[in-house]
């Protein structure tokens, strides 16, 4: 049973099986969970970074609330942009399959 020829044949079958399995399974379950986390944190992170930049600039220019408010909203739009971009990338990946 353990002859090399046998192993080659078995390898072939196993490889075909693995190919099928990969196509069906891999790109669905695990990466959809991952992309859900990805989208949500991307949105939050941009808002956070925007507000922080605004806060730092406020401290520099002594213009207390205004720049924080402005950069908060810029951060929100950056977040939306990020989400749209990664959603587009995911769409492309799905269409490729």
């Amino acid at each position: 049973m353990e002859k090399p020829k046998d192993i080659a044949a078995r390898l072939k079958i196993a490889k075909e099986k693995a190919k099928k399995y990969n196509q069906n399974n891999e790109n669905q379950r695990s990466s959809s969970l991952g992309s859900a986390f990805k989208l949500s944190t991307e949105m939050v992170a941009s808002v956070f970074v925007g507000a922080t930049i605004g806060f730092i600039l406020d401290n520099w220019f002594d213009s207390k609330p205004w720049l924080t408010i402005l950069f908060f909203f810029i951060g929100v739009s950056a977040g939306i942009l990020n989400v749209i971009r990664s959603a587009k990338k995911m769409q492309k990946n799905i269409e490729k399959l």
Partner: protein, 244 residues
């Protein structure tokens, strides 16, 4: 103390206090688990690559599977130009994975559930990718912030938005890993506390919940390591092949 779900995240000193200037660099339980995971990785790959048999043993099979898994991921997401960075991404993935998985053991400490650990990893990736981008494209890398086909009036606003979205990368990268690990472990501990307080009569429901949650947490531990590595690849891809 035992019922406090946040108690598991306390960092405490092991051994003597070491101080350099104002910095406390004593050996803590966090450093202990980092060293442990590095040692586990080294031992695992030592035995995994020792024999190099044609018909692999189980441990060799796992080591080779991890290798092909990561190399396929890199070539899929970042192209063939990213080959030189294989070693970095591979070690990153394995380190995060082992830290997450060692945190699943009872009485252990999850290194990646502290934002400073994940943030340091993310900020080094961010700085590294930025340097690679500037080395490959020179000042042309700044084109990343100027998308084509935008009216001149909107340009200043768009550039600021792009810069903020670029700067948000390390934050989103680190917060994702940290939040997932911390939330999962807190939830496990809360349900574990329910089992104790409800006792023999009512404790079975939370017990079954925490069994299911443990399975979910193992999935999350793997998934977050994978996401961390794949996002590094995507950022690297942006730096290597400019699209705009």
């Amino acid at each position: 103390m035992a019922t406090n779900p946040m108690h598991q995240f306390h960092v405490h000193r092991i051994g003597p206090e070491i101080k350099i200037g104002n910095f406390d660099i004593s050996f803590t339980n966090a450093s202990f688990f980092m060293v442990t995971s590095v040692l586990t990785i080294l031992i695992f790959f030592y035995f995994g690559t020792k024999k190099r048999a044609i018909i692999p043993t189980k441990i060799q099979l796992i080591a080779e599977l991890t290798y092909t898994f990561i190399s396929k991921m890199i070539s899929d997401t970042a192209g063939s130009k990213a080959k030189p960075y294989f070693a970095f991404i591979f070690s990153l993935f394995i380190f995060v994975l082992f830290c997450n998985m060692l945190g699943m053991l009872p009485y252990s400490f999850t290194v990646t559930s502290h934002i400073i650990v994940t943030f340091v990893l993310a900020i080094f990736i961010f700085i590294g990718v930025t340097i690679i981008g500037f080395l490959k494209h020179g000042l042309g890398y700044l084109k990343l912030f100027v998308p084509s086909g935008v009216p001149i009036i909107l340009l200043p606003l768009i550039v600021i938005i792009e810069i903020i979205s670029y700067l948000s990368r390390p934050v989103s990268l680190s917060v994702r890993l940290f939040a997932n690990m911390m939330a999962g472990h807190t939830m496990l501990k809360v349900f574990g506390g329910f089992v104790v307080s409800l006792g023999l009569i009512g404790g079975w429901l939370p017990l079954s919940f925490s069994v299911a949650l443990t399975g979910l947490e193992i999935l999350v531990a793997f998934l977050q390591a994978y996401v961390f590595a794949i996002l590094t690849c995507i950022y690297l891809n942006d730096a290597l092949n400019l699209h705009h």
